[in-house]
Amino acid sequence: WKKEEFRNCNQTPFCKQSRSRKPGSCSFIASEPVIENGELVAKLIAKPLQNQEEEPEKLEPLILRISVYHGGILRFKIDESPDSPVTKKRFEVPDVLMKDLDEKKLWLQRISSPENGKGSVLYLSPGYEAVLQFDPFEIYIRKGNDPNAIISFNSNGLFNFEQLQNKREGDDWEERFRSHTDSRPFGPQSISFDISFHKANNVYGIPEHATSLALAPTKGPGIESEPYRLFNLDVFEYISESPFGLYGSIPVMISHNSERTTGFFWLNAAEMQIDVLGHGWNAIDGIAPQHEAIDTHWMAEAGVLDAFFFLGPTPKDVIGQYTKVTGTSAMPQYFATAYHQCRWNYRDEEDVAEVDAKFDEHDIPYDVLWLDIEHTDGKRYFTWDKLLFPNPTEMQNKLMAKGRHMVTIVDPHIKRDDGFALHKEAAKLGYYVKDYSGKDYDGWCWPGSSSYLDMLNPEIRSWWAEKFSLENYVGSTRSLYIWNDMNEPSVFNGPEVTMPRDAIHFGGAEHREVHNAYGYYFHMATAEGLLKRGGGNDRPFVLSRAFFPGSQRVGAIWTGDNSADWDHLRVTIPMVLTLGLTGISFSGADVGGFFGNPEPELLVRWYQLGAYYPFFRGHAHHDTRRREPWLFGEKNTALIREAIHIRYALLPYYYTLFREASVSGVPVMRPLWIEFPADEATFNNDEAFMVGNSLLVQGIYTEGARSTIVYLPRGQTWYDMRSGDAYSGGKNYTLEVSMESIPSFQKGGTVIPRKDRFRRSSTQTMDDPFSLVIALNSSMEAEGELYMDDGKSYDYEQGAYIHRHFVFSKGILTSSSMRSTKTSKKTLSSNSVIERVIVLGLSSSAKSALIEPAKHTTEVEPGPLTLRKGSSAVGVTIRKPNVRIDEDWAIKLV
């Protein structure tokens, strides 16, 4: 990590200045509230100065708009007055908020005054109100008549808004950092404020940082740290446990205590710095004010204040409210949820064929083979190195014959080479981002001198999307999908390895205003291309490194260039969990670690953990030794095979969870406290996690571990996924561990659908039979779901899907449909049957089961949890019920 290459807060004028502000220094008060267009509109004017000697600066008032959305969402926006004499308009990030958000707006009818008369009170949702207090200026949410705020804005009076000015003689706004100069033609324009999460135990969110799940304070007594930085950067060999900014940014924070979860979102793509303030940060003479809240300080270089409060009250509610605003995860294709094999680089077609063959030789399934930058002709994307990849179509077709897909990389930097048609066309059309002087910005990346398409412009995105058609992308096939790397954007010779802030985008927006969203627009344009290629009915798969709110609607995210060490293995869990909390469900980390050579033990542990990442891909830097799963001796090969097999067995469960995420926003991989919000012992746990609501997994993060402590949340019985052993919840267990597996448990009261037949890739499993694993709770009951569709198209939107609800109660397992009756233009049928039902925790001596309505009986006997050599009977197995997955039925133990 090159620390000196990146600015710290003190080297960043807006951050340094904002961070040094004192509580109560806010100079604005609110006035003249009116209802306009169903919203509350008020003016923010300068507070009359107590010291009359100083002349207050003559500024136009700021405009505050407060609106309420259905389901407990409050939005407040502060921007310059339309009457401002400055012609430059502040940048508002387009294409992030859902198009249908306006339809969810509650039209405010009237404003009432609070008890003291110095403000306005708005209805928010049943039992909740939002309050605008004029002086001191504050916005907060409260429950009923309880005067205490739940979540509030500017309670500490840190709000500041640097208004745009016309440049006057003598104004020197330039900023220098190392060898770079930022011309800053529009001068200072930062915004900062405080948000208080009252009674919170912890705050979470604001990815992407390689830190703990619960955010540690960055400022306060005895704490010396940089603020959490949100600035998308390509960081070489990043370190774990640091608040510096990585590849993506989501300015969303979630607070939690055992009774309530709330959330905050600031839609702004400029550089942001966020302090989590430690208790006593605002102490006067060492005495901290009596105030049970986690205060946070938000600072951005530019943009507008467009912010949201999410009321909760449960964690899932908050995520639902946030994803109502920015959208839920796109439904991935089935293959994309399976295992991906990547390396920088699979050298040539021979190499590809050999790696593919070796997977088969070792009976290890995989679904996607990836090609990194070296497959291109001189890093000109959409081209192939003619020597190494003379027959790309044939190569892809060979993979496809085994149901496997391929992914190639397409980065945003375009080689400035007049012989490169894409460049020539882009230059001619004026599609590149401009530098401050108006010329095409010329930066440096893999191909050397490069320019960057201005993906903020929808017209350019649409032009770009056309490049993915089979005609334009010569050598591509329908089984080829795309990887967007370096889209922060990474510019090797730019300030902080990115684009200068004074570069100019579509509509005159400065790069400083657009920066954190650049990668998102690029990702979006690429996905649009694949969508177009498939005639609108092939779900795109595009992996991106940079991200922003809304990226979840576009595709998958990975955590970038990590390293092959145990700390990096450990930090992947809080990183992926945080992405899930902030809407991005489909994410993962490079298994094995990108840089460096993992010891076999680390690699095995990484596969065992990575098999549970929503996005599961092995990847490696080109300086590392080969590390395909079979290269570490038979024993390790078997362990890795087993880890990958577990993922394949669980694919039906994962796919069902992806469906849930695409509907409700609740992520596939979840912090424990999402599922157990009242269990305080889970709040700081980021070593274990839930997959859906049924599966708890504990990673092993140390070398040579013989035992580990696992906390199993209270109120439940937990079943070891391998041995079937039952544990009661609410306790820490010290468990022996071997290299065979990492601890995983199924929660009592759940049903997990599995496919226990192994194939080369997920494609061949489509008609295979299912197993159901039923873990009973103390009332001898359980329930679960299964969602399936064609795994590929959007036909499910028209009803072509199967969604079953399994309930086990009183010794009877029933399957009923959960299909919505609204959309049934199409249907899906499946020949798959259930070949096996395993019941854990059943005290029954049943010898057979009666199947309704078919009225046939089948055998019941003790059986194992896994079909592996040496496994023994640990549960009750219903043999071959062979009931169809797409029908209603009941199986009764007799």
């Binding site: 000196e4 060898s179 440096w444 030794r625 226990d756 080369r760 896994t866 050599k869 071959k880």
Partner: protein, 592 residues
């Protein structure tokens, strides 16, 4: 249908096992009734009950492939919609139609196999001959070594005696000289006393000056070496590593570093060193890189190079600099490589290497000298390996003892010829002794060098049957694109591009029961491992190097075809295989 269910996927030899009504899981975990055989439900965790379905992940499916070779598949291939058996038997659920292609595939496979058998047949013969020769040669060289050791002993003795005699003579001469000088001095003293005194003083001073000058001219490196040596090997290691990274720093940043201020180079060096030693040393990085004054392009290249490890220079420049660097690197890694291998970096080691390289020349010289101007002439053929093949019949018939006696005689006569009288010194006698001494010590050192060469060679692992003996002084070359790969077993392997040589590794050992040669500790790769090469050995009629590849950065693989691995057992296996294939073909033909 029932019949097929009972035999589906089962190896013919196993059919018996499945005959009974109650069948045991092979792992002994339980048993199952016959109806449960291939009933699409996994009862035995080891897969015994489902050889013909995909129900058990651990089971295996046997397809007969009449007309071709039988194959055993993972159960994951059964009814997965992909034709794996050429007879199509793995896809029986009707979802896909797999045509029977065993006939054509079998024909092609048989032809291929027959070719292979032909190669093996000839290869086995060549190998046998090679082994015979190798064994003879080894015996010969071992015998030679023994003799040389005996001769060395005698020679040492002789040289020692000559030395004694020489020293005696010299002592006597010295005494004579002193006596003479004294006399002369007396004479001179009597003649010119004062004048001579002054002039003598001047001469002394001059001599002293000259000596001082000589001392200054002594290369400082000697001095350094001395210091290094005394300060211990670990220190030396550090020093060398540093110089290594120095090179790397130049590689990485020469375009900027050479023209810009010196602290850039230093900083870079530090960076790179950090990277090499501990790539992710997060905590101690406080260094600030001076990038002011770099052009934008240079900066871009510099930052890119972190990920790629490539030279950041201009393209053409890069190529030439790389070469320079590689040369330097070669020299450096040789040294540091020694330090890694041996705790005590000894001169002997380096000497051995020299012998290796100049071996043939040296030996030829020895031989030539021997014949032309040797003071004694007895028939000891110091054959070079290159002549081995033609020379076996010339193996000395002289018995060891008589040969030794002959040498002893010669030595005795030499000694006898030297008078041990002391006084007065016979001039011709003195010069004769000196000459004898010089000649015999030269001879001794030559013999010693030959001994070291031979013993170095003979301690190598030439394989269980000495089948790799002939590899010892051979190098195999393969040209691929712009590179020439040169593999010298027991020595090193390199990649040559124009005038630049990259060391891919030094000889390490045979692996995989002599199916592979391993060269390790080659030139260091930036941000990567030291280069290494694995050479897979395949049966072939000639020694031919091919298919050099770099599947992982700086880890090379190549294939060498050679008769040395054309094993008879393997030939038999292949013949059996062909027989089985032919039998299967005949059978399927009958069926047709």
């Amino acid at each position: 249908a029932d019949l097929s269910k009972e035999s589906l996927g089962i190896h013919p030899e196993e059919l018996k096992y499945y005959k009974s009504i109650k069948i045991k899981c092979k792992d002994g975990s339980k048993s199952f009734s016959k109806e449960r055989l291939n009933d699409e439900f996994c009862d035995c965790p080891d897969g015994t009950d489902e050889p013909g379905t995909s129900a058990c992940p651990e089971s295996r499916f046997y397809c007969q492939n009449a007309g071709h070779v039988p194959v055993t598949l993972f159960s994951s291939r059964v009814n997965d919609g992909i034709c794996d058996c050429c007879d199509g038997s793995d896809e029986y659920d009707g979802k896909v139609k797999c045509p029977n292609t065993c006939w054509e595939a079998g024909k092609a496979a048989r032809e291929k196999l027959m070719k292979k058998i032909a190669t093996y047949q000839d290869g086995v013969v060549v190998r046998k001959k090679d082994i015979e020769q190798a064994k003879l040669m080894i015996a010969k060289e071992e015998a030679e070594l023994l003799k040389l050791r005996d001769e060395e002993k005698l020679l040492k003795d002789l040289v020692e005696k000559l030395k004694e005699r020489k020293e005696q003579i010299e002592k006597a001469e010295e005494q004579e000289r002193i006596a003479k000088e004294k006399e002369e001095e007396k004479l001179r003293e009597a003649q010119k006393k004062a004048n001579e005194k002054a002039s003598e003083k001047g001469a002394d001073e001059k001599e002293a000056n000259e000596q001082e000058k000589k001392f200054e001219e002594t290369p400082p490196t000697d001095f350094d070496d001395f210091v290094d040596g005394s300060s211990g090997s670990s220190d030396k290691h550090v020093v060398e590593e540093k110089s290594d990274s120095n090179n790397e720093a130049e590689e990485g940043g020469h375009s900027a570093g050479r023209n810009a201020s010196p602290d850039i180079t230093i900083e870079q060096e530090k960076d790179k060193t950090d990277n090499t030693i501990d790539k992710i040393d997060h905590k101690n990085e406080e260094n600030t890189e001076n990038i002011e004054g770099l052009s934008r392009e240079e900066l871009g290249r510099r930052v890119a190079s972190r990920w790629t490890g490539e030279n950041v220079g201009q393209q053409d420049k890069e190529a030439t600099d790389n070469k320079e660097e590689e040369h330097e690197d070669f020299a450096n890694t040789q040294d540091s490589g020694d330090n890694y291998e041996d705790e005590y970096p000894s001169d002997a080691d380096e000497d051995t290497r020299k012998y290796d390289e100049d071996e043939i020349d040296d030996r030829n010289k020895y031989e030539d000298e021997d014949e032309e101007e040797g003071p004694y002439n007895h028939d000891i053929p110091y054959n070079s390996d290159t002549e081995d093949n033609t020379d076996i019949s010339d193996f000395p018939t002289l018995s060891s003892s008589s040969w030794l006696d002959k040498i002893k005689e010669t030595f005795q006569s030499v000694l006898k010829a030297i008078k041990l009288s002391n006084d007065p010194v016979d001039k011709s006698e003195a010069s004769r002794v000196r000459k004898e001494y010089d000649d015999y010590s030269k001879k001794l050192s030559k013999i010693q060098s030959r001994i070291s060469t031979l013993s170095e060679k003979l301690k190598q692992d030439f394989g269980p049957e000495k089948e790799f003996f002939s590899f010892y002084n051979q190098c195999f070359e393969s040209k691929q694109n712009k590179y020439v790969y040169k593999v010298c077993p027991y020595k090193q392997a390199s990649q040559v591009e124009g005038h630049s040589t990259t060391q891919l590794g030094r000889w390490d050992k045979f692996e995989e029961s002599y199916k592979q040669m391993h060269f390790s500790n080659g030139d260091h790769c930036w941000n990567g491992p030291d280069r290494s090469l694995k050479v897979k050995l395949r049966c072939g009629l000639k020694n031919e190097l091919a298919d050099v590849n770099e599947p992982s950065r700086c880890e090379y693989v190549a294939v060498l075809s050679t008769p040395s691995v054309c094993l008879e057992e393997r030939l038999q296996d292949l013949r059996n295989k062909l027989e089985a294939m032919n039998a299967a073909r005949a059978q399927s033909h009958d069926e047709l």
